[in-house]
């Protein structure tokens, strides 16, 4: 403070420099886009970290966040199951089907797993057809995938009905630890919701593909992005199958 007081010349020079900076700053601001586009342009500083379309990058980031949601459910389930002093119901018996007098353990769950894996396979083929710009086959595969997904949800509804009729509730059940019901309805319910949303998503994209909505840009990447979501649903089921039904 005393230095600038003693040397008015240097103080004036710095004021000039600041004014010049402001002029330059205004010139830069005039050249760059304003508003939200400006914010993005400034923060990315003309650099792109991921060499994929924004849609694909955002789907991956969404799936990453969804991974954390499902992991929290599964970790919570692990905690209540390990921490429960009451024995946990035996999944092998709870989810068994009685066919012709013989009890087949986990049969329905096994069929559901195969249906979902098959739907993942047809989806992968649909994405492949979309790369080859074969839109009729791509849409057919997507509709087939959605059909298999709906079959899965139907079987899950059957399973829920069966368990509810057997007296399983989120707050208790006749087979063992009370936390079984809440874990089961929460985890499979949230997964089933994802499958249902996926069916709607796939059908929407398939119909748009058939109607030629993507012909203007010629970009079929939406099929691949929808496919990422669908494979993720299958991926989550792999973990639920292993950790909830087989443990």
């Amino acid at each position: 403070m005393s230095a600038s007081w003693a040397n008015p010349l240097s103080a004036r020079r710095s004021a000039e420099a600041a004014a010049a900076d402001r002029v330059v700053g205004r010139a830069v601001a005039a050249g760059a886009p304003a508003g939200w586009r400006g914010l993005i342009a400034d923060w990315s500083s003309d650099r792109q970290a991921f060499k994929v379309s924004w849609g694909k990058a955002m789907m991956w980031i969404f799936l990453l966040s969804d991974t954390f949601v499902f992991s929290c459910f599964l970790t919570g389930y692990m905690t209540v199951r390990t921490g429960s002093a009451v024995p946990w119901p035996n999944a092998s018996h709870v989810f068994s089907l009685n066919i012709g007098g013989t009890e087949l353990p986990l049969l329905l769950i096994a069929i559901m797993t195969f249906v979902l894996i098959t739907s993942s396979g047809t989806m992968a083929m649909g994405v492949n057809f979309a790369y080859r710009r074969d839109r009729v086959n791509a849409a057919t595969m997507m509709i087939l995938t959605a059909g298999l997904g709906e079959t899965f949800v139907g079987m899950q509804a059957f399973e829920w009905t069966k368990l509810i009729l057997e007296g399983v509730r989120p707050w208790g059940n006749p087979m063992g630890a009370a936390q079984f019901g809440s874990s089961f309805f929460m985890i499979t319910g949230f997964h089933g919701l994802h499958v249902t949303i996926g069916v709607i998503y796939l059908l929407t994209v398939a119909v748009r593909l058939l109607r030629g909505r993507y012909e203007k840009t010629g970009n079929y990447q939406i099929v691949e992005i929808a496919g990422l979501y669908w494979h993720f649903v299958d991926l989550v089921w792999v973990f639920i199958f292993a950790l909830f039904y087989l443990w």
Binding site: K51, L63, S71, T75, R81, G83, I117, A124, R132, L235
Partner: protein
């Protein structure tokens, strides 16, 4: 397991880093997807058999977790095309979930505490 090796020649490294080249390099024969689908089918059957034959203890756990991770790896690598994405994207998506191992470890300790207190107060 040989399925993962048989599709190796199909792997085409990214020739150009440009985003424009992206669409071209992801053309794989349908056979690759069929092979992975069959592999997932076989692996699921194997994990079902783990339950069917009522394996117990460490063997059951090891088999369940191993089969689960192989299936997850096949889905992410081939069906979701992560094997052909650039390393930057693969790291950004695949590394953060490793934090969950910390959560699982903490909650496993917590669960032991819960079991202990349940044993003490709710006998």
């Amino acid at each position: 397991m040989d399925v993962t090796q048989s599709h190796e020649p199909v792997h085409q490294p990214v020739q150009e880093p440009q985003a424009q080249a992206h669409q071209q390099h992801q053309q794989h024969p349908i056979g690759l997807y069929v092979k992975v689908w069959i592999a997932l089918f076989v692996l699921s059957t194997m994990s079902y058999l783990v339950d069917y034959y009522q394996f117990h203890g460490l063997l059951r756990w090891g088999l369940i977790i191993m089969l689960m991770l192989i299936k997850a790896g096949l889905i992410v690598a081939v069906f979701m095309h992560m094997a052909w994405e650039r390393l930057a994207l693969a790291c950004a998506i695949l590394l953060p979930p490793l934090c969950l191992l910390v959560l699982v470890a903490l909650m496993a300790i917590e669960a032991d505490q819960m079991l202990l207190t349940h044993g003490l107060f709710f006998r």
